[in-house]
């Protein structure tokens, strides 16, 4: 049984999705890694920004 926090779930989701995106959307290992890292930052960054937006709307 696993009960991760919201943020841990975001990190796990971003990690796995970015890995697949990086491998499938680029051709060379270096570019795959860079694109995967880029996707990871965008996933996590957008989740953090949207969380703050929702917090500010609620307060």
């Amino acid at each position: 049984m696993s009960h991760p926090s919201h943020f841990a779930a975001v990190l796990l989701f971003a990690f796995f999705a970015s890995t697949v995106f990086g491998i499938t959307q680029r051709e060379t290992p270096k570019r795959m890694f860079r694109y995967g890292a880029y996707c990871f930052v965008l996933f996590v960054g957008s989740a953090v920004v949207l969380s703050w937006v929702m917090y500010l709307i609620a307060h």
Partner: protein
């Protein structure tokens, strides 16, 4: 970028055997399409990502869609079907929750659906490698 020789090799390779084998194998077993093309590291990473996400979804008490009552269920089931034999095994062995009862169960359901969608992307990538659309 692909060199002329790698594109040549890929297009020559495309003429041999059953072209859709990596696509179908990659859908049924995550990473198998890339293994068939001797892309061991890529296949292992894709398999670890898809199976890991699927297993985490189950561990979070996510739901496996068994029947489609409305449009959202249909979309969820389409995503789940992308997991190939993992979905069949989950249905056969009764894995996953019947109904989402805990907060993390909702995340788990989404993890399982997205694992299926990512597996389809990976299988199509294997097909593109096989046909030469993407250089080996």
């Amino acid at each position: 970028m692909a060199t002329a020789s790698t594109r040549n090799a890929a297009s020559q390779n495309a003429g041999k055997g059953f072209v859709y084998l990596p696509l179908i194998a990659g859908w049924l077993v995550p990473g198998l399409g890339h293994f068939l093309l001797r892309k061991w590291v890529r296949g292992a990473l894709l398999a670890a990502s898809v199976i890991g996400m699927f297993a985490l979804g189950l561990a979070m008490k996510g739901k496996i869609y068994g029947s489609a009552q409305d449009i959202l269920d249909m979309l969820g089931m389409a995503g789940d079907l992308g997991n190939g034999l993992l979905f069949v095994a989950a249905r056969a062995l009764g894995w996953g929750a019947e109904h989402v009862q805990v907060t993390t169960g909702d995340y788990g359901t989404k993890f399982i659906v997205v694992a299926g969608l990512l597996n389809i992307i990976a299988a199509v990538d294997a097909h593109n490698l096989r046909t030469g659309r993407k250089p080996l």
